[in-house]
């Protein structure tokens, strides 16, 4: 017989073990966040938002350098991606939640999760083959397509779950007053779940905004601003995560500083969207 004392000893040992593990796990994760903020804050200045990066010699000789083209580029590419991904993602989400009898739905769910789990670098290769190769040049558009592959499964899933949250009785009420099904979906179900849909889009946007791997060989990167609007879309464009990578592996100390600056910009954006998402979700729950 095991004595109660022994069992409690074991109980307490496990508690200590779990607490210890939690501390060991969380400490480095907190350190990462703190480091990026501490290092990044020091690297932030007005030039960052007004100047281009230019060639390495520009930074070496102490002339002002910044990431204005990167910040604009990130928005251009990510918004392109959103525009491309939203119709498909919404379509898939509507299909999954509003047509539950569809035979393809189980396969679609599995394939959607699979697509979501695919390495982002492969999505970059796909966009390269579909857009860059035929067009013959790296472009913001191809970056948008690559990120759209990242966003698509996230949007589809979140659309499905937020539409599912609307009770069936509301749909039936709409159908009962003689509205066709599409009208019920478009003017009753979707408006009723708009905060859920918006949250899903924000999650997808934030996730894609942090992806560097798919952009390395699609939007490619650019040290300068594009002079024309079309250049942002059809020519190579700089984006924050990809620029961050290039800066970090570059041999110039000044660029490393810029790398931390890019890091804090990116991290701030991610944290901001995270907080918004959490607040929206919490409000929905109460």
């Amino acid at each position: 017989m095991k004595s109660l004392k022994k069992r409690y000893l074991r109980d307490n040992l496990m508690k200590v073990f779990l607490v210890g593990n939690t501390i060991v796990v969380l400490t480095p994760l907190i350190i990462i966040l703190l480091y990026v903020f501490i290092q990044g804050i020091g690297a932030i200045n007005i030039d960052l938002f007004t100047q281009e990066l230019g060639s390495p010699s520009r930074a070496m000789t102490g002339r002002p350098t910044g990431l204005v083209h990167t910040i604009i580029g990130t928005f251009v590419v990510d918004i392109l991606a959103l525009i491309i991904a939203v119709p498909f993602g919404l379509g898939a989400g509507i299909m999954l939640s509003e047509y539950p009898d569809n035979k393809l739905n189980p396969i679609m769910r599995v394939m959607n999760d699979t697509l979501n789990g695919m390495p982002a670098v492969l999505k970059g290769l796909l966009a390269w083959a579909l857009v860059v190769k035929p067009m013959g040049s790296f472009s913001g558009l191809s970056g948008g397509v690559a990120l759209a592959f990242v966003m698509l499964p996230i949007i589809a899933r979140s659309t499905e779950s937020s539409l599912m949250n609307i009770p069936w009785s509301i749909r039936e009420a709409g159908l009962a007053i003689g509205l066709p099904r599409w009208r019920v979906i478009m003017s009753i179900v979707i408006p009723a779940s708009k905060s859920g849909l918006a949250t899903g889009l924000l999650i997808a946007f934030a996730r894609a905004a942090g992806e560097a791997a798919p952009l390395m060989f699609t939007s490619f990167g650019n040290n300068y601003k594009s002079s024309t609007l079309i250049g942002w879309i059809m020519g190579p464009v700089d984006t924050l995560p990809q620029r961050l990578y290039s800066l970090a592996i570059s041999p110039y100390a000044q660029w490393h500083q810029l790398g931390w600056a890019a890091g804090i910009l990116l991290l701030s954006f991610v944290i901001l969207s995270f907080i918004i998402v959490r607040i929206v979700i919490r409000e929905k729950n109460y």
Binding site: I30, L126, L130, E211, L244, Y245
Partner: protein
């Protein structure tokens, strides 16, 4: 409020608008076809990915053979133009399996602690923190790794380990590898750090889904808290936990930027414990932009094709586990 608005709105629409062709069954059919057409891309994307990667990698796969490329140990874009994916497959499997092994118990521990032990305010802090960290882009982790973690590991551990082996077992040095800081061990540790939040988040979910009755039944038998977790909670949640581990494994396999920044990028065997190595995603990112020769480019894409297959298998297994356990879970309770 929203519902009232929309119902009212809908009724008004119905009364004011004339009934066009769109309001008959044609409208519904048109809508459902367009939705299907858009939605089906989710399936097409994955299929397209397989086709494109195979198509563009075909040159290399044909030249070196499906299995020949898989087992080829040489990757030489410089002179011989001979390409084999074996080093990268090996690198990917070693790093992700090791990261999984290291991260498993800590990740589960955090989940159990937050779900079962900690007071609610602390649970919510940890929960938010873990979710936030899961959302941090991998380039940022890589940035920290490259400037802070790798040099620190080198100065605090690697050089001492290396010197110790130099003094005691110099014959082991090729296995230990160069302590430059950027290499296999650093990549594994960073990878483990990165997948812990994923495993934790999914495990917390699985643990929270365990019905209250199961816990109470164990308590009523006179179990201590840990015994309840062992007896009732973990077995019940094992399906979810396993699926979470599988998904985290998938993440580790596909993780690109942080690994590319920290693994040191050595393309040829043999790898060593501390020394540089390479993985499938890291070689794609590193060499794709610089590939000039067609066969080099094709080989890189072929690596992508094999990466696709491995990811596909891992993801399908995860989906299968999730499905199987959620079904039996529903049946038994």
């Amino acid at each position: 409020m929203e519902q009232n608005y929309t119902k009212e709105h809908a009724t008004k629409e119905l009364l004011t608008k004339n009934r066009s062709i769109l309001y008959r069954s044609f409208g519904d059919r048109l809508f459902s076809y367009s939705v299907f057409g858009l939605g089906i891309t989710v399936i097409l994307c994955t299929v397209l990915m397989a086709l494109v990667l195979y198509g563009d990698g075909a040159e290399a796969i044909k030249k070196f053979g499906f299995f020949g490329f898989l087992t080829g140990r040489v990757w030489d874009p410089g002179i011989t133009m001979e390409f084999g994916a074996y080093p990268f497959i090996l690198g990917t499997l070693i790093t992700s399996l090791a990261a999984l092994a290291i991260s498993f118990i800590p990740a589960i521990s955090v989940a159990i602690f937050t779900a079962e032990y900690s007071p609610r305010w602390l649970s919510s802090i940890i929960d938010n923190l873990v979710n936030l960290i899961a959302a941090v882009p991998s380039v940022i982790i890589g940035l920290w790794g490259i400037f802070i973690f790798a040099p620190w590991m080198r100065d605090t551990f690697y050089t001492h380990i290396y010197m110790w082996f130099l003094d005691h077992y110099p014959t082991m040095l090729p296995i230990v590898g160069n302590p430059i800081g950027y290499g296999m061990t650093t990549a594994i540790l960073i990878l483990a750090m990165m997948i812990i939040p994923y495993t934790t988040v999914i495990t917390v979910d699985a643990v929270k889904k365990v019905p209250k009755e199961q816990r109470e039944a164990a308590y009523a038998l006179g179990a201590t808290k840990w015994e309840v977790i062992r007896m009732a909670v973990l077995p019940y949640a094992r399906g979810g936990i396993l699926a979470g581990v599988m998904l985290s494994f998938g993440r580790a396999i596909g993780e690109t930027m942080a690994v590319a920044m920290l693994i040191g990028n050595r393309n040829n065997l043999p790898f060593s414990i501390l020394g540089p190595a390479s993985t499938m995603p890291s070689v794609i990112v590193n060499e794709f932009r610089e590939a000039v020769e067609n066969i080099h480019l094709s080989s890189i894409i072929a690596v992508g094709f094999y990466l696709f297959i491995i990811s596909l298998i891992v993801n399908l297994i995860a989906a299968y586990i999730q499905r199987k356990f959620s079904l039996t879970g529903a049946r038994t309770i």
